[in-house]
């Protein structure tokens, strides 16, 4: 297990947090989520939050980090003692309406990438994506696996309001906004599906390392669903 998590860099993230960046290995992502799981079950002293990402993990403490060396040593020790865990990824099919009526940026994206809207929809709905992390806000999923033709930088100025259920792209990733929020990704679709329900024991539809495929639906189907 230790072979999958080799610390490449330790980056200070303010006075109370550290971001550990890991070298690229074949199962780095699964190992990061496993480390996160381990730290949540057996937290280091004063640890108050753990935020896993694609190639790094951020450890937040409830006070200023005083002895960095000792801390890094305990994290390294923790990593070396991690045990293997079996992941059971689930494939979720999520219905998405790509109509410009709800996919507010799809036309701009199609122009920017010189790809027709139809082609864009085809390419976006044919890929199988992996949930690399949850983050941003509750229910937001970062999905890896955008078609190489569909890679576009983030917006220069983020929007103040992105509708709940928006499916958006930036870089190599697709994101799903479970909640209405500000956002800097390009919205190319919207799902009518409820992605977040606090009354459920597992409030989120997906978990890290699950897979997602998008199924195009018409505006009529979308409206009927809502």
């Amino acid at each position: 297990m230790t072979d999958d998590l080799i610390i490449d860099k330790v980056v200070a993230n303010g006075d109370c947090a550290l971001t550990l960046v890991f070298k690229e290995t074949s199962s780095r992502l699964a190992a990061i989520h496993q480390l996160c799981d381990g730290l949540l079950k057996h937290p280091l002293p004063n640890l108050c939050n753990v935020i896993p990402a694609k190639s790094d993990i951020t450890l937040v403490f409830d006070r200023e980090i005083q002895q960095l060396d000792t801390l890094i040593e305990s994290v390294t020790q923790f990593i070396s003692e991690l045990e293997g865990v079996c992941w059971h990824p689930v494939l979720h099919e999520i219905e998405v309406c790509y109509d410009p009526e709800v996919a507010v940026d799809i036309q701009a994206v199609s122009q920017h990438l010189s790809v027709s809207v139809e082609e864009l929809i085809n390419r976006h709905s044919q890929s199988v994506y992996q949930v690399s992390m949850l983050g941003f806000l509750p229910g937001f999923a970062y999905l890896d696996g955008n078609d190489t033709l569909l890679q576009i930088p983030r917006k220069a100025t983020p929007n103040l309001h992105v509708a709940a259920g928006s499916v958006a792209i930036a870089g190599q990733q697709t994101g799903i906004y479970a909640l209405a929020s500000p956002g800097g990704w390009h919205v190319i679709g919207r799902t009518p599906k409820t992605l977040l329900d606090w009354h459920q024991q597992q409030p989120m539809l997906y978990k890290p390392l699950d897979q997602v495929r998008f199924k195009p639906i018409s505006l009529a189907a979308f409206s009927a669903y809502m």
């Binding site: 303010g14 790094d56 993990i57 509750p138 870089g171 209405a180 409030p203």
Partner: protein
């Protein structure tokens, strides 16, 4: 045993110490914007420092109470009345059953904190009573308070007098200096831009809420060919957007972000920003 809101004010929410160990699910920490002021209000009425209380933003609230109970106000200075008789906020206010408590004109600061002795009987979500309005979660029905809401009190009681030290009164200096650390992406910026970031004044814009403050300054030079992956974001991170302007993450901030962070303010300085006003010049100061 409850208070009934008569006027809620522009943005009044229930908050406590915040929600921890849920960041991996994308859960912001939330909680008091000005923890120092909130702790003081709680202390004045004998509560635990992190106990749930009411955070009031820009405009005051009023309520009726149906039980004898002491309350205290800290943080932003509002004129306060009990049954139309003005009361001092530098001490505990003892309310009687049937009293009406009213906050009027805001005099200093932005966010006021009203603690009631014994706290509120509101169910915690993920270990916290804090309201996260963007997720309709926690607090009172997941939203800002409205006229007519009835907030149940947990253990209302009368407490001994407690005077607020005069030096704890909120001031609004024309310059606000906030201690900070170099951010995780500082190496992506050129030396001139880093010097600029730590040397120039920033001002609040109209887009400021618990999630983040959009600041206005001379634009910073955005790193070229930059495309980073999203990673863990702390409240107090100054994120530079491609237009050269900045967004300072606040307490309801998203847990991850993808804009480069040129600096992160020290966590014990966050409370200062909670009381910042648009006319103040904000400087970020790094000890090297």
């Amino acid at each position: 045993m409850q208070i009934t809101i008569k006027k809620a004010g522009a943005f009044t929410t229930l908050q406590d110490h915040g929600r921890f160990m849920h960041g991996h699910l994308g859960m912001p920490v939330s909680g008091f914007m000005d923890a120092e002021a909130a702790h003081l209000a709680n202390k004045m009425v004998g509560n635990q420092p992190g106990q749930g209380l009411i955070e009031i933003t820009w405009t005051g609230m009023s309520f009726d109470i149906d039980v004898d109970c002491s309350v205290a106000v800290a943080g932003a200075e509002f004129e306060c009345w009990v049954n139309n008789k003005q009361v001092q906020t530098n001490q505990v206010i003892h309310l009687k059953q049937g009293d009406c408590f009213k906050m009027g004109q805001l005099q200093q600061g932005v966010r006021g904190y009203l603690a009631v002795a014994g706290g509120f009987a509101v169910t915690a979500v993920a270990g916290s009573q804090s309201t996260l309005t963007v997720a309709d979660l926690g607090g009172y029905q997941g939203r800002a308070l409205q006229a007519g809401d009835q907030l149940p009190l947990k253990q209302p009681h009368r407490v001994p007098d407690f005077n607020k030290p005069a030096w704890k009164k909120i001031q609004t200096p024309s310059i606000l200096v906030v201690r900070a650390q170099p951010g995780p992406e500082i190496s992506l910026f050129d030396p001139h831009t880093i010097k600029q970031a730590f040397g120039q004044a920033y001002h609040l814009t109209n887009d400021c809420n618990r999630q983040g403050f959009r600041l206005n300054s001379e634009p910073l030079k955005y790193p070229e060919n930059f495309n980073m992956q999203s990673s863990g974001l702390l409240p107090g991170s100054l994120q530079v957007t491609p237009d050269g302007q900045t967004i300072l993450a606040m307490i309801d901030a998203q847990t991850t972000g993808g804009y480069p962070r040129i600096l992160v303010i020290n966590q014990d300085q966050l409370h200062k920003l909670a009381q910042a006003r648009p006319e103040q010049s904000i400087y970020f100061f790094v000890e090297v």
